[in-house]
Amino acid sequence: MVQIYTLGEQAVVLQLGSGVSMEVHERVMAYTRAIQTANFPWVIELVPAYNSVTVYYSIPTILQIAKTDDLAAWVTDNLLGISVDFSNNKQANKKIIEIPACYDPALGVDMLFVSEELKLGIDKIIEIHSNRLYTVYMLGFLPGFPYMGSVDERIQHPRKKNPSKQILAGSIGIAGAQTGIYPLQSPGGWQIIARTPLAIFDLEKENPCLLAAGDQVRFVPISLERFYEIEKENQA
């Protein structure tokens, strides 16, 4: 079942389920691909989220091609008329990106706190966090910020009550069942357990964001020395 809601007069939200699950995510990605494939000239852009896809459209383009005075209804009809292929979701087709992560408390600034709160050793947290393939459900909050899941229940921890004023770029955080990476220096509320020397967001690149919705991510633990080495290589 798809429910469609307007979000202003230039966007509709396709609600494809509720909550956060792999099953709903697969539906979101299938619809995103199907709308992209349909190649409607009036679609400006799509924003996939955990359980929805939002379609932004151009009213002037629709006025040129359609005889209608009911634009949102016309858009809805067109979107519901596409065929959606759910078969292309095989694990093998997904891009897997390995992200080096230094879990040293010097960089994972909340690691000691989280370790105490969870009554788990740092080594155990590293093992659990890095021993899993995460799915990028969506990007948002900041340019290139990936919302990934799902974090093993044993290391789930709520976000901070009082957000930090400054989290450094590359910081890897956890919040409930989610894990994410801060692409830019920013205020934020996630518990920071590691940092990557990779640029998650790079202005100079044609595609400035390392990750996209639907990608798979694996964190590869590295030492503090290795972190600084990679950081140095990147700057060179």
């Binding site: 809601y5 007069e9 230039q10 400006i44 852009e45 996939p48 939002t54 909050f141 340019p143």
Partner: protein, 325 residues
Amino acid sequence: MSISIIKSKPGCTIQDEGRFGFQALGINPTGVMDLHAMHIANALLGNALSEAVIEFIFPAPVFYFHRNTFISLSGADFGATINNTSIPVNRPIFIPAETTLHFTKKIRGNFAYLAVQSGFELQDWLGSYSTHKKVGAGGLHGDDLQKGDIIHFRNEQKNYVHEDVMVMPWQADVGDFYNSTIYCTSAPESIISDNESTHWWKDQYFTILPNSDRMGYRLSGGNFEKVDTAEITSSAVTRGTIQLPPNKIPIVLMADHQTTGGYARIANICASSFSSFAQQVFNSPFMMEMISIKEAEKKWIEQYYHLQILQQACTLRIKEQFHAY
């Protein structure tokens, strides 16, 4: 052929219609706060409507023009003066070389726009000139314009030479682009909740709270007793989305909004009301009204045609004027 900032003030940036096509990557569009004003300023000069403009707030910067040029001011009226003579908004103005432009008082509105004939010569980032301060890209250098900044124009103005400032004999009637009531349509969470709770706007006066900015306007007013503020699984938000956080102080997302959010989306301000809303003076009361999406589309299309008529009329006047000289 350029303009210099000889005295800078915070909140002065280069903006255009915004950077679209990258919201799926979390790259928010930014762009002007008052799109109509930007379009009107460009139409007056015969520019493409989408040409980048300088957006500024009051207290305003001081600008210096190195060479002869045509400019236009639109949006907020900050009492522009050249050599102590008042310069009107919504008119094309010939500026002779070596002229300083000051702004003296906040007469109306929050965001003023300065356009120059032929537009500014700038480097785009991802297809837009809008300044994205968070990532430090777009505009001249990704930030507020600073004292000493020089922005070049695309083309030199050579056809028209005059010794003094001259206000050209045509003006934009902006009445069709602004309204006192702010219109809204329903949004995902307002449809999900029950009917009575969607009447939070009825017979209510709203004001914009002072802790509002290009990211969002916070509102006081509204009857939210029955409105559910449960957070949602993060989903897209857009310009004009009214979010209701658990503290029941609504936030209206503006030009620098994030691409996704987790607060309940209780309504969306109509694009045809964005300009009026962006220019609504803080702490002064206004009313909101919920309309159907079909009515909202009708208003949008009407303004779109008004703008095209304005553009055609200006093009005609420009041709006449330069033929005459």
